[in-house]
Amino acid sequence: MSEIIKLYIDGRKVEAEAGSTLLEAARSCGAEVPTICYHEHCSSYGLCRLCVVEVEGQRTLAPACVVEIEEGMDVKTQSDRVVRSRRTILEMLDSAVDLSEAPEIVEQLAVYGADRERFSGGTERTPEIIDDNPMFIRDYSQCVLCWRCVQVCAEDAQYAFAINFSGRGYETSITTSYEKSLTESSCVFCGQCVGVCPTGALKPKREWLLEAGTEPSEIMRMTRSERRKKRRRQERPYQVVSSTQEERDDDKR
């Protein structure tokens, strides 16, 4: 039997097993701690910070999903600082990406009284829909960068390593190597990424077509992967690689 740790959460005395996270301890006593990036079956990297709580005596707020409990900790899950951070993170996220297919996040916007216009006018992330394989589409304008897809594609599950990141900071995006199509990548189409995506960013293609209610042929024309290719061609004045991405795409047509 592992050691039992005693701590205080919102003034209540709580006991939990050593090695538990603050999130587990908080939930065990019914305290509400919201999360976005946390997923039971994925490694936790403490990305979204929606789960932050205030621990007495600590300079910064603690991400409850990764911080382990310690004896005598005095934790507040709804202090003013906590609420300000959660609300502001939600408002900023809302202003950056399309959350229309992320009902759980939208619910949190309401819980924290987020002003959905507060940061309007800022740059939004609106990359074009990528429709490059028969299995699923990728609409990164809905991506909240929770990393789950990258994780399950790599060490958390599939070891396929088809996707990673491009850019950094606000311009970070999920991508294949050199943004080539998934069919040309090491993707094995296991669909695990689609399964863990908390928003509408990754979606089975059939579902997407049905939702759109449009003739498939028409949708194909709409998807901007075509325009994307053209733009890339213009941006690359040099024909460097003997067989370029574009040529390979052309061959397939």
Binding site: G46, S85, T88, A96, G121, T123, I163, G169, T175
Partner: protein, 583 residues
């Protein structure tokens, strides 16, 4: 032109040869391999990246992820010559942004665009660590100081290295061999007393004796966080595990900081001696110096010094006949401020994107490659030979009880003599600015950005506060990496803030939401306000974004990305008020 080559098997063969010595190292060789390949091809085409991935056993998507993280790696063709012009405060107030525009106009290109003949490209760079020579640029491999913004032809074609260090101050301990206009060689270093610390340690002291001496000296880290070095080393020495590392943090990218560049370029052996001593103290056999990619000159000088040190038996196997082995490897960054954060730096050496790790666990037990690691700043390590050579009592003769020893102050901006000044901890802002740097020019003192971009603004009200860790802390200030950026009263603080906000938005790694989103929104709000579109809610928005980053970000970058802005709003609450607010 390199880019026009149609690469065949033949071309990749050259790459394969280049990779041969790296293959056994695996992923940790990724950044060195990418540097070497970029040197060969001018940029990093897809099949080159794929080959590197195959050889080092790194998934292709990961290779691309790494290339796209670092601003000095290019997955698209670039020009043969890249002119990187600093756009950060000390340079921008001296005309740096003007120089960017003029250079673009002269070459007939937009920012980041390759000129028609493939020769030139202009980038706006973050602080290049040449702030005492503002405005500054890095043209290819050459650091050029005091460029004439109006006259791009002049500085784009300069052949010499126009950025020799300017060093002064009333004590010359760390800088005793600096500022002479040349690199101090091993012989001169020894004549000035160099390597006597190492001789003493290997001859008279046990490793724990060295740790004790450092603890007794009261030395604290000079990289920004002011953590006691002796305590850190003790932690590493006592951590379980056979393999341990020493890492020197020479990423120096905090805007306004240039001390480490001067120490490395002018007196490299002092740093090497400090590292060997650290290795001996903590029980490591291998050390890394991680130098930012924008310091090619420092890399060349360190490599040369390292070769010399090895030849003379001062680095490597059986050092000075003592039986102690310690070798050093130099690693070169590729344009990412975040890689100065210690755990991001480890990730970078391991061949990954520079994402900071969650702490705990701390580097003392889980550092580079998951092993116990002592990571220290260049200046911190340069203090070590003096402490061991002359004893901790001698070291404590200058400075205060809680902040003992000499300190390097990087002074730039509106002063008569921008430069690097060595003085004890405890001198005042007034003393450094008026006595050492020749006083404020262009008007009366307006403000000082103390501690760099991650630091806070202060005004003449702090002129007589002693510059020590304890005194500044009680004023809610911090010396950070020893930066004093001085602005005369005519400077528009809002423009400076916009520059800082631009810096953080560019350099955020994007891992955690508060900073990934907050640095962008902070920049946009300030940018819009400066463009005459301030909103009455801006002060509150900046405050909420700022405090959210400060409270909830994962690492020190996000936690300090709003410090300057919040300090400015404290000092000048009406800074971003609209006309409406004044009614």
């Amino acid at each position: 032109m390199k880019q026009e080559l149609t690469r065949s098997e033949m071309d990749l063969k050259e790459l394969k040869e280049l990779l041969l010595p790296m293959v056994n190292s695996g992923r940790t060789a990724l950044l060195p391999a990418l540097h070497a390949a970029q040197e060969l091809y001018g940029w990093l085409p897809e099949d080159v990246a794929a080959e590197i991935g195959r050889q080092l056993r790194v998934p292709e998507a990961d290779v691309y992820g790494v290339i796209d993280f670092y601003s000095m790696f290019y997955s698209r063709p670039v020009a043969r010559n890249i002119a990187r012009v600093c756009g950060d405060p000390s340079c921008s107030i001296a005309g740096g942004l003007r120089a960017v525009d003029e250079a673009c106009a002269h070459l007939g290109v937009k920012l980041d665009e390759v000129s028609g003949d493939g020769e030139w490209m202009v980038e706006r760079a973050p602080c290049l660590g040449l702030c005492e020579h503002a405005p500054a640029a890095l043209v290819g491999d050459r650091a050029i100081g005091n460029i004439d913004p109006e006259n791009p032809i002049d500085w784009l074609s300069t052949q010499g290295d126009g950025a020799r260090s300017v060093v002064g101050g009333d004590i010359r301990i760390l800088t005793r061999n600096c500022g002479n206009g040349f690199t101090t060689g091993l012989k001169e270093y020894m004549l000035s007393g160099g390597y006597s610390g190492l001789r003493r340690a290997l001859g008279e002291l046990t490793p724990s004796g060295v740790v004790d001496e450092i603890k007794a000296s009261g030395l604290v880290g000079r990289g920004g966080a002011a953590f006691p070095t002796g305590l850190k080393w003790e932690g590493v020495a006592k951590a379980s595990g056979e393999t341990k590392y020493v890492v020197c943090n020479a990423d120096e990218s905090e805007p306004g900081t240039f001390k480490d560049r001067v120490l490395m370029e002018d007196d490299p052996h002092q740093l090497l001696e400090g590292m060997v001593l650290a290795g001996y103290a903590v029980g490591a056999e291998k050390g890394y110096i991680y130098v930012r990619g924008e310091y090619p000159q420092a890399v060349r000088i360190l490599n040369e010094a390292l070769g010399k040190g090895r030849d003379e038996g001062l680095v490597g196997r059986n050092i000075a006949g003592s039986g102690f082995d310690f070798d050093i490897e130099i690693r070169v960054g590729a344009g990412a401020y975040i890689c100065g954060e210690e755990t991001a730096l480890f990730e970078s050496i391991e061949g990954k994107r520079g994402f900071p790790r969650i702490k705990p666990p701390f580097p003392t037990t889980h550092g580079l490659f998951g092993r116990p690691t002592a990571i220290n700043n260049v200046e911190t390590l340069c203090n070590v030979p003096h402490i061991i050579g002359k004893g901790s009592d001698a070291f404590r003769k200058c400075g205060t009880r809680e902040s003992p020893g000499p300190k390097l102050y990087c002074v730039s901006g509106d002063v008569d003599n921008p430069g690097l000044y060595e003085a004890p901890f405890g001198v005042t802002l007034r003393y450094v600015i008026e006595e050492l740097a020749g006083g404020v020019v262009g008007g009366k003192l307006g403000s000082v950005l103390l501690g760099g971009a991650a630091g806070a603004f202060t005004t003449a009200k702090s002129y007589d506060v002693p510059l020590t860790i304890e005194d500044l802390r009680s004023e809610n200030l911090s010396l950070g990496s020893g930066v004093l950026m001085v602005f005369h009263e005519g400077r528009d603080v809002r423009l400076v803030l916009e520059g800082l906000a631009h810096f953080f938005a560019d350099e955020s790694c994007g891992k955690c939401y508060p900073c990934q989103l907050g640095t962008q929104r902070q920049y946009e709000i300030i940018h819009r306000a400066n463009a005459g579109q301030a909103l009455s809610v801006d002060r509150q928005r900046l405050s909420d974004v700022g405090w959210t980053m400060t409270d909830a970000s994962l690492c020190g970058l996000g936690q300090t990305a709003a410090t300057a802005v919040l300090s400015a709003l404290d000092l000048w609450p009406n800074l971003f008020d609209t006309d409406e607010d004044e009614l």
